[in-house]
Symmetry: D2
């Protein structure tokens, strides 16, 4: 027997990725696909390659039309739309996994500084659980609203978690992070600098001092450590469709990082501690996070490199992992068939 779920914002890249994952999920059924801009169309009019799948025949509908037997909704919506609509959906009894940034951290002023809007539902925000599965698994199981992490925070916090669990090892207030992302992270909307002839053979840093994922990383890191850590985070975009590396540098007490990391992640299905700097291609189209910890004696810095697919573990895959937990299903269901590759 399948659980019925729905997606609001089904026509973006994270929406599409959710659809593809749900087609394969043996215990969930995609029963509702919402889109304000394309309502009335069939999904396969937007994504013609879905011809022949029953999900392709779904008619995109207004958000108000969600059938009441749907148990859980994925919100793949703009931040402000999610902020407004999530409380209403919770009210109506749906469980919600929100893929936007609207419910990820509790520090209200940071919404104004980094997102440019005032949070209108601080009371709901207090109840949201941050969906970094490997860190907050137990809370997620009981949550009605999970704020699914951003792609950079997923890669970065998984790279740091064994140290954040052991805050005494951290000897520096400011953590340096350079994140490298595939272009799908910026979404399906067209922009001149992502026009193929300009983006191919190209790379550039952006939002150098002010990226929205900074307060998210800081909030989670400080929840875990109570240390007042700051993140000096510089993102750059590289000419790949999917894939993300986080290169994290911080001063730590000398320790056996490999042992610490392997112990922390022992038994995790989707986080693997590897003994070489991971290649982003190895994890694309999978839900894995590969983490490589190393220590530089010369500068007494830990250098940790992690790799994920920004659309899977960094968005829709982790959202499904969380939904599995919220619905009492096996956490890896629908994600286990995605196998790493070299080519």
């Amino acid at each position: 027997m399948s659980v019925k779920v729905g997606i609001l914002g089904a026509t973006g890249y994270t929406g599409l990725e959710l659809i593809r994952l749900l087609i394969n999920h043996p215990q969930m059924e995609l029963a509702f696909a919402g889109s304000q801009s394309s309502k009335g169309k069939r999904l396969k009019e937007i994504f013609p390659f879905l011809e022949g799948f029953k999900e392709g025949d779904l008619i995109l509908e207004d958000y108000k039309e969600i059938p009441q037997d749907v148990k859980l909704l994925f919100l793949a919506l703009p931040h402000e739309v999610s902020m407004e609509i999530a409380p209403q959906l919770l009210e109506r009894g749906f469980k919600v996994v929100d893929l936007s940034g609207a419910y990820r951290f509790k520090n209200l002023p940071d919404y104004e500084t980094f997102y440019g809007f005032k949070h209108t539902h601080p009371e709901v925000l207090q109840k949201a659980v941050y969906g970094l599965t490997e860190v907050f698994r137990e809370e997620i199981k009981n949550a009605d609203l999970v704020a699914n992490p951003g792609c950079y925070p997923t890669a970065t916090l998984l790279a740091l978690y064994p140290l954040l669990k052991n805050p005494d090892l951290i000897e520096e207030e400011t953590i340096n992070v350079v994140g490298l992302s595939g272009v799908s992270g910026a979404g399906r909307g067209l922009k001149q600098h992502f026009h193929f002839p300009e983006m191919t053979d190209n790379m550039f840093a952006y939002k150098v001092t002010m990226h929205r994922h900074t307060p998210e990383m800081e909030f989670v890191a400080n929840s875990l450590t109570r240390k007042g850590l700051k993140f000096r985070f510089t993102p750059a975009v590289v000419p790949i469709d999917r894939g993300m590396l986080s290169i994290v540098t911080l001063k730590v007490k000398k320790t056996d990082l490999r042992e610490l990391y392997e112990e922390t992640y022992r038994g995790e299905e989707f986080v693997k501690v590897v003994d070489y700097p991971p290649k982003s291609k190895e994890v694309i189209r999978t839900n894995y996070c590969f983490v490589y910890p190393s220590y530089d004696e010369r500068t007494q810095r830990a250098v940790i490199v992690s790799a994920i697919d920004n659309l899977v573990k960094g968005a829709s895959g982790q959202a499904l992992q969380n939904a599995n937990l919220m619905l009492g299903l096996d956490e890896g269901e629908g994600l286990r068939g995605l196998i790493p590759s070299a080519v």
Copy 2:
């Protein structure tokens, strides 16, 4: 009247790039192309697209056959070969621009630590001038042996130079650098992970704690500042043929970085201070370095991003810029026709 020059190691990527630049140079003539592995062949047998250019008809010759009317030699050779051969060439009266790492820094033990060999010509090393043109222009003009900088050090030191000139502004001992490089930086030799089906859509960090360009950056930075700076340098390779970004982070006194940078580089033809994070594609196939300085109030860090073409400003272009100076020619000759683009 043209000056005759030669290349030893003409069949690699930096050799090829030098040939292409020299075809266009109005005052230099490529009179000798050396290659131990391909001697006896014509250049166009290696590079068939050079058919029709007189340089394509050059016969690759043994290094011993250099005609005495050649004034200057570019060495595009493995480090140890350069180390051995450069002193002999100087002895025979040639000026030398060495593109290898053999003569770039003076600290002997670092050759053993980072390059794995003991330097056999410390006395010649003392006389070598580091060819970062914009910084050591006057010394280069009078040098017989110029050690042409590595690609990462070129991008990183040009990103830092205005601060290195003002060491009082620097408030941290350890400078964090993440360098992103196109694959041509690794040369023409075949490797499994650079096989197209594996490298496309891919990126990964490498030599995370021990890259050879680290002691080079430290030596130059400390020559300029006398401060004992350390570089925490992490390189990563991305799926582009050419292009390099250096993302440099360090704690500095609050200052007007833009003014400092513009003042430092005023009048420089090939270094431009830009007001947006530069795109690597803008400078590929040119000799430009674009530098973007910014300051993050939250963490009191300067974040400087620079962009070059690793094969041009990061290798053969800068080598030609230096050769122009060593031969008393206009520094930009043969390089000025390479114009930035978006596509």
Copy 3:
């Protein structure tokens, strides 16, 4: 209960793709991985991203060590090795799916002309069944030796099959085919022109008048039509890892091509007739073939464009589809979870 299968030549790209598919297959178990060059190593030493999968722990073994409870073997070997070893394996009672070209067509002289060797097992060749699943499904079910089609012939023959079934529609002896392939089609072996810096941003035709897949296409087309058709086949390689287009042009009687194609492929799970020129990316990492038929009134030519993933429907996916049939399993098992995408 799982059926045990094995792979000879497990370390190439088609071998790897088979391993990935078998990890997901609910009714097959990879019980043997053979490699002459890497024997004694674990699979995960070659493919470190398989760490954590039990298949990654398989020890690569000599071909002689195949356990007798293995039912079926996939040969991902060089043509001549396959030619010699397949008869021995059949003799020992294994079913065989041969991914090489050794048993694909019956015309002996073409092996000398196009492959450069004399076929040493013409009697076995007579019994081999050509594994173009949608065309020879019934024969495949009862075969002991299936010659799995080449990638270009798969794309091209599926593009042509509705016409080949109706040979009276064909009004020209020579069929024009341009095939565009991703680089993985050339295998895992290193070559200068597939070195990333040279292959990126590049494309070129190759083996313009003499590609090995030509006699294969002709043999199958003429088996179906008895018409003496010739293929003017020009392949070109483009800078993608996976993906293949076949652009087929031939003079035909005016007819309703769309109806003909839809009727021919009605009910096929993996061949879809689409109403736009298919994008290769839509089918990569899936077993689908998308076919677009069109008719040009001006020149009275049919122009049919088909798209596949050269490593899946063009190699390992179709091999698994055939193995499913040979073992009495559901044809789509292990392949159904691979869903098309746009990104």
Copy 4:
């Protein structure tokens, strides 16, 4: 002394490429840059990497403001705009190189069929000279209006010209052409399928039976042969920014194609007959066309493959080559410094 020239439509890709070429041209000066959509802005506001070049300081102006001392105008405009404006500019005494399709062929009904508009200036059309430099050089020298060829026609007609000059060799009415193009050929305007995450790793045919360059190829081929040839032309787009291959197949009398091609193109600076299928990357960012003729005995077909950069020889480079001739300058001026490469 420089000749003053101008560009109308300076902010597209062909406009940008012209600007870059003119920066390097020793005898032309870019004195006017027109843009209706961006008038009043400086060029460097559109293309910030032009900062520091005096051309970057040009103010984009209304087409009416062209100074009278400008001798020649490049029109990089939409077809219909060019059609209307070219006659007015000729009237005002400017020489014109039109990069649009508006004046390329004389057969009026084809404008309606393939371009969707009725030609409003048939009398001007009669006087336009088709700017395929190597074929119509003498006419171009004396022309006031040159219709610069499309990219596919340039590559295809140069691949065919030695046969078109010898029409008796051609034994087939219908010539088969598959053209492969980089994405810049589609211009700077944004489209969903050219959004980087969708176009990377992708390729697809388009306008399969009805591409606008078909009547252009046919008109020129039939002007030269008087044979009533038809072109079955299928274009496809591949994931590169620049570069184009034309793969041409036609039945010909057996002949020594190599000799014929070498004789035809002897002495041409920018067309080279090569003895291997040319790589598109070799000619990108150059004005060269590499042509490879071959003959397939089995099918009695000539297969000719040519390679160009669609933005240079296929657009702005050839436009400059033509402008040089129209102004009495050396044909290769400003184009000679663009040297082929492998990387």
